[in-house]
């Protein structure tokens, strides 16, 4: 399936809703942020300016390390785990408790970004009441 690129009209409300849905789904989540193509924060659990700066620093180090644009970052420390994902021109960062399931967390982040990029509200995985 071809990935849709974000067309740059993602509303802050949609991103906020997507973040709330992510927090609802992921019991291990401590905080998260969704960034636009230009690195601006579309939604963050708290302190958006800090999220923007720290996420940019993480992606900058990762891009430099591999000599190309990184797609996923997973860092585990004793204090918690950081997941970062670029998809469809957007980026999502999540901080979780230690030992969160990496594949599920990346799956949720990717689904969220894919849905937002397609103009949805980030709740693509949610069962819709009218989908009987």
């Amino acid at each position: 399936m071809a990935d849709v690129q974000a067309n740059g009209v993602i509303s802050g409300d949609a991103a906020e809703g997507a973040l709330a849905y992510l927090a609802e789904m992921s019991l291990d989540l401590r905080g998260a942020a969704i960034l636009g193509a230009d690195g601006a924060v579309l939604a963050a659990s708290d302190q958006p300016e800090r999220w923007r700066e720290d996420a940019a620093a993480l992606f900058e180090v990762a891009d430099r390390a591999g000599g190309e644009s990184v797609e996923q970052i997973h860092v585990g420390t004793e204090q918690g785990e950081v997941f970062a994902l670029r998809h469809a021109g957007l980026a999502a960062i999540a901080v979780t408790e230690r030992f969160a399931l990496a594949s599920l967390t990346f799956f949720d982040l990717r689904a969220l970004l894919r849905d937002l990029a397609a103009g949805g509200d980030g709740r693509a995985g949610e069962a819709r009441p009218d989908a009987a």
Partner: protein, 74 residues
């Protein structure tokens, strides 16, 4: 001939010690910090904490963990 009672006790104690040592080994391995980067095409890289890039990744990740704070109480 049944084993002497102190042999049974020693076997049991050394069994518990082996279990504890294995638990500690697993715990050390699972608590070791790691940094993994994934690129397009499935390429992945691991960076140790004592490498230059690994150190920078852990610092950047540490800042994000700090800004995220503790898990909100349910």
């Amino acid at each position: 001939m049944p084993p002497k009672p102190h042999r049974v006790l020693l076997d049991r104690v050394s069994g518990y010690a082996d279990e504890a040592a294995a638990y500690m080994r697993r715990r050390r391995a699972s608590r070791r910090p790691f940094a993994r980067l994934y690129y397009k095409g499935g390429r992945a890289e691991d960076h140790a904490g004592d490498s230059a890039v690994g150190g920078e990744l852990f610092v950047a990740a540490g800042r994000l963990i700090e800004v995220a704070g503790k898990k909100p109480k349910q």
